[in-house]
Symmetry: C2
Subunit: 158 residues, 2 copies
């Protein structure tokens, strides 16, 4: 099927949490997410990129209402996974474009990032699956970015 | 709907590319993905986590057949985005669990990471959307990890 952006979604009810520089060895992610399961905390997005010097950052977003519980849970586990710090940011929002096989179209991907850049907005985090690309940006910019993306891809924001 | 893992997918035909320590300012991601669009390179997964000291890593996976073109494209752009290095790894594979609202179930997320950990396998990268969680691991481990996940979630690998 020809890749096409079918929808735009925006989520302002989330907060970002990052366990910085945890040990990059088997079992560490399991410990972190076991603790979140113990606290019954649903996840919104999980991102881990390349490790460096045997350490890695594990970043995820949760519902804002769960932020305090999440920080309590992460403070219980941070020594066991040797996190250098637990960072959080509740001034962020997520904007996503959705469509069948959109990663198959480099023009669509460039289109999203270029539209955000032309609003002079910095992209804080990126996560994707074959039918969705999500960017974390400053919450204060979400309105103008959503409008610009809706215009670029000729959509209505959901 | 009750979150449930409906499928397991495996992809061994990909390679990882990371632009390390690019400038973390508006427009940088657009430059990187413009170059990939110029080369007509489809993407498989894009991951960017938290920045540090005004720099960030932009990581993505492409089809193995596109790796050489991708490296050529990234070497053309690396100075403009001030990347410290262009890293690649073609010894990786991706395993994903798929299901409606699986991020809403912290037990399922923990289940995936714990199953990989119990095979003593390190998770290299993580990316997710609301219905899919993907892990990049060593290609040599993909068989046993896929089998263990299929057993854990009572599925057949697609
Ligand atoms: C690193 C890159 O994503 C940058 N933050 C941008 O917005 O383009
Ligand atoms: C950092 C964390 O993901 C680790 N690599 C693990 O496999 O658990």
């Amino acid at each position: 099927e020809e890749p096409l952006v079918r929808a735009l979604t925006v989520d302002e009810g989330i907060a970002k949490v990052v366990l910085e520089r945890v040990l990059d060895k088997p079992g560490i992610a399991a410990k972190i997410f076991k603790k979140l399961a113990d606290y019954q905390i649903s996840l919104d997005m999980i991102v881990q990129s390349m490790h460096k010097d045997g350490r890695n950052d594990v970043a995820f977003t949760v519902a804002k209402d769960d932020l305090q519980d999440t920080l309590n849970a992460m403070n219980e586990i941070k020594d066991e996974v040797e996190a250098k710090a637990v960072h959080y940011d509740d001034t962020i929002a997520k904007v996503s474009i959705v469509g069948v096989n959109i990663l198959g179209s480099p023009e669509i991907i460039y289109g999203m990032f270029n539209t955000i850049a032309s609003e002079d907005v910095n992209i804080d985090m990126i996560s994707s699956s074959n039918s969705r690309v999500s960017c974390i940006i400053s919450k204060s910019k979400i309105g103008k970015v959503a409008d610009a993306l809706a215009e670029r891809f000729k959509l209505k924001a959901l």
